[in-house]
Amino acid sequence: MKKQVLLTLGMIGIFTITSCSKEDSNPPEDNQNDSILVSNLHAPQETDYTQNPPAASGAFVKFDFSGGAITTSDTDWDIAFRGTSIIVNGGSSSGIVDAPERTGNAGAYIVDGIFDEISSINTGAFAQDGPGGLAIPTGSGNGWYNYDPNLLAIYPIPGKVIVIRTADNKFAKVEILSYYKDAPAVINEQIALNDLRYYTFNYVYQDDAAASGF
């Protein structure tokens, strides 16, 4: 036991030393979180360019937090992805074609901050999809991503945490990490063109409907 404590202290010491010796441009490492990582959730979209303006279509890929996986269920889903659009299973149709019918009470809001530090749930802040727009707004700089017109790339905005009320009134917080296959550290033109619409995200699920935090 004592040995273990010493080992841990030693590890912390080494960690601190390496942290200190690191260049100023390296931010503090954070290794604590109990979040679950979802990699390469493929959310394809078809775009008809023969129409002006071009029209996006295709089935949404649904995700269920309690199951921790994508689902084909018509009712047991919380959020769904297609291209850069994310809808929630709550509210009414926003007018997007091919969106599944919303059967639950899901809602969402976006908060600025560090994922692990977002611990409280503001139950009054949840919005739902509707004719006025999506609970998770689309468009560069509006919701979870910024669009780089130079590289034609989608970058998740660091510090945007999506807090979700699930279809059955539980909670989750989500941080989108990448929009490209295998979450490459650097996105080049080839990746931007070919490997898009693969979501990698972190989430923490809170299955206590009465909870006020994560």
Binding site: S25, N26, P27, P28, E29, D30, N33, Q45, T47, Y49, N52, P53, P54, A55, A56, G83, T84, S85, S94, G95, I96, V97, D112, G113, I114, F115, D116, P131, G132, G133, P137, T138, G139, S140, G141, N142, Y145, N146, D148, N150, Y155, P156, I157, P158, G159, E175, L177, S178, A183, P184, A185, V186, E189, T200
Partner: protein, 699 residues
């Protein structure tokens, strides 16, 4: 059709004006001063800072000039070749392939560029392409830093660049120049001038062709497509009578360039530009000068793309008219100072594909400036200009500048002035939907009509910025500029100057999303948002070590930031992440790097030498830029120190010329000797350029 009618009105009025003056030509002799090069450098006379002839060294505002001697020494062919070597001026590539210039950290659209005192137009995407200006017939280039809207009105926020074309020297002269070099680039110039002491003629033609270059071999596109362009200029100056002098000039520019958009879409882009100026000046009384100037210019650009089968895929046209009559009155006296006043009207019109209507602007204006030597040691220039506008609130732009001679070696100078730039046609009337991505861009004034139309057609999902927000007109971008400098003159040929500057800009125009479309894309429009500042220091040291060796060094320190972005960083509202697998962290205030494409440090060093024994001259020049970012690469939309930046780089150029007798001159040189390139990011750096040149001139 409208253009033709304007032209006919223009010529009709020119005719009336001409008839009003006494057209009997008199053989009054003009005083010709010897234009020796040393005299030029010692006592350079510039006109851009005050609109009157002033000795450069005595001006209270930071002013610089590039003499013809330097243009010839470095074998420059385009304006950009010269500007990129000047302290604090950065040539910046535009996505259209053009190149603009950044001055005191302000973008190229905030610097007024003129030829002989009248502005160049054709900013189809905001940037005026300075590589379109040949330097073959240029006497000098004058650069005035700091807001100058008190004299020049619109666009003169960062400063003014005025290209002064050559005036014929006595006699008949012919000159041919050729320069050929890398990328199959050929520049051919011919000039004929005739000054018979009664009137002066000059004719200049230039042809430049190049294969362009390709920095990224992997894609189907060339970085710069092959092009050929022509410039022709004619200038006439003569006396109508013993009081009245007339100057007429015309310039024509044409460029044809290949245009490739993808492996299957190819076409051509064409530019045609006309400028005409008529200037009548008379001295009815001692000390008084009256001037009438009428400038008209038209800039046309068209781009077409064809499918592989030859059918048309797209065609876009840009056709801008600009016409400006101006009346000036000047009173010059040693005792009571110099007064200059002007009254004018600017007319502008633009026809453009993807535009909401055919917009027209009318902008009458008046300005007045007083320039006096208050005491032996204190010079004061005070001026103001009032611009009315058919589409915006009127603008009042005062300026005050002072120079104080502290000792015979040190003088202090300071200037404080306003600058403004009215929103351009694109920011007001654009009506464009991208055919591949599906987003829409609406000019500010087009929103209230086009957005409801889009809504009616079912293309709009929801509107995030209500239409009420578009009721007040979009405001011009305004700046307040402060310059404070010290000039040291250690010896007649050893000079050092330091200038501190600060530009505060408000109502900068940016784009924002105003509505979401049913196709998942957005509708963008323009709005006044940003408050930006640029500040720093520029310094130049020049020493003529002996008559045949001149050394100069320049440096600029620059901070250019968005005030709201600075606030977001200060409040800890900005986050970063190194890679998708590493955690998010909060950025600190000093992680913010500021505006894109700004280097904190830029520097240059130049040596110009003469080797009289061999009739040779030449130069060695180096320029340096410290690291800068071109765009955000980590998703937080701000430029911070974790973004992927362009590394610091230096560019070295050499030139060597030799006179062969009095009529011929040969030259050779290497630009960008180290062959520095940054494919994909710095598209205006083609790599090493090797060239040779030949000049023939009659004595």
């Amino acid at each position: 059709m409208r253009g033709t009618s304007i032209l006919s009105i223009y010529f009709r009025i020119v005719g009336i004006v001409l008839a009003g003056f006494n057209t009997s030509l008199s053989a009054q002799n003009t005083v010709i001063t010897a234009d020796s090069i040393t005299a030029q450098e010692l006592d350079a006379v510039v006109v851009s800072a005050t609109r009157t002839q002033r000795q450069m060294s005595s001006l209270p505002m930071p002013t610089q000039f590039i003499p013809q001697k330097e243009i010839e020494a470095i074998n420059a062919i385009r304006l950009t070749d010269l500007l990129e070597e000047q302290t604090g001026l950065i040539t910046v590539a535009d996505f259209g392939g053009g190149q603009g210039v950044q001055m005191q950290g302000l973008d190229s659209q905030y610097t007024l560029v003129m030829i002989d005192g009248v502005p160049l137009i054709g900013r189809s995407a905001g940037t005026l392409d300075l590589s379109r200006v040949t330097v073959g017939n240029i006497k000098q280039i004058e650069i005035v830093r700091g807001a100058s809207s008190s004299l020049y009105g619109n666009e003169a926020l960062g400063g003014v660049i005025n290209i002064i074309t050559e005036n014929p020297r006595p006699g008949k002269k012919t000159r041919f120049d050729y320069r050929g070099g890398s990328f199959n680039t050929h520049d051919l110039r011919a000039q004929y001038t005739d000054n018979n002491l009664v009137d002066e003629w000059s004719i200049f033609v230039n042809r430049l062709s190049s294969d362009g270059y390709d920095l990224l071999e992997t894609d189907d596109l060339r970085t710069v497509e092959p092009y050929t362009n022509y410039t022709a200029q004619v200038k006439y100056k003569g006396d109508l009578n013993q009081w009245t002098q007339m100057q007429v000039s015309g310039r024509y520019y044409h460029q044809n360039q290949d245009y490739t958009a993808s492996s299957t879409l190819a076409g051509a882009s064409d530019i045609n530009e006309f400028n005409t100026t008529l200037n009548l000046s008379r001295t009815p009384l001692e000390h008084w000068t009256q001037e009438i100037e009428w400038y008209t210019t038209r800039y046309m650009a068209s781009e077409s793309l064809n499918n592989p089968d030859g059918s048309a895929f797209s065609q876009s046209d840009f056709d801008q008219w600009f016409s400006r009559p101006e009346l000036r009155l000047k009173r010059v006296s040693d005792s009571s100072g110099t007064w200059i006043g002007g009254l004018g009207l600017t007319y502008e019109q633009l026809k453009r594909t993807d535009f909401f209507g055919t917009p027209e602007f009318y902008a009458p204006y008046a300005y007045l400036q007083y320039d006096n030597q208050i005491t032996e040691k204190l010079n004061l220039v005070a001026g103001a200009r009032y611009d009315l506008h058919s589409a915006y609130a009127s603008q009042f732009s005062p300026k005050l500048a002072m120079r104080y001679v502290l000792t015979d070696k040190i003088s202090l100078k300071t200037s404080l002035g306003y600058g403004f730039k009215t929103p351009d046609f694109r920011q007001l009337y654009f009506d464009f939907t991208n055919s591949t991505a599906g987003y829409t861009v609406l000019g500010y004034n087009a929103v209230s009509v086009r957005l409801p139309e889009l809504q009616a057609s079912g293309a709009i999902l929801n509107v995030s910025v209500p239409l009420e927000n578009f009721e007040d007109p979009l405001r011009p971008e305004r700046s307040l500029a402060l310059n404070f400098g010290i000039d040291f003159k250690f010896a007649p040929q050893v000079k050092w100057n330091v200038n501190l500057f600060r530009n505060d800009i408000k109502d900068l125009i940016d784009t924002r999303v105003i509505a979401q479309k049913t196709n998942g894309q957005n509708v963008f429009s323009y709005y006044n948002v940003n408050r930006v500042f640029t500040q720093g220091l520029e310094t130049d040291f020049t020493a003529r070590i002996n008559p045949s060796l001149k050394f100069s060094m320049g440096y600029q320190y620059l901070i250019a930031k968005d005030k709201d972005a600075q606030k977001a960083f200060n409040n800890g509202e900005v986050f970063g992440r190194l890679s998708p697998s590493s955690p998010v962290f909060r950025l600190k205030a000093n992680d913010y790097l500021g505006l894109v494409n700004r280097s904190r440090h830029t520097a240059n060093a130049k040596v110009f030498f003469d080797l009289p024994r061999w009739d040779m001259d030449g130069s060695v020049r180096g320029t340096y830029r410290s690291a800068f970012g071109l765009f955000d690469t980590n998703g937080n939309s701000y430029l911070d120190k974790y973004d992927d930046l362009v590394s610091p780089f230096a560019i070295f150029d050499f030139s060597l010329n030799k006179a062969l007798g009095k009529k011929f001159r040969i030259g050779a040189g290497i630009d960008n000797f180290l062959n520095y390139t940054d494919p994909g990011r710095l598209t205006n750096l083609p790599g090493r350029l090797i060239y040779a040149s030949l000049t023939f001139k009659t004595k």
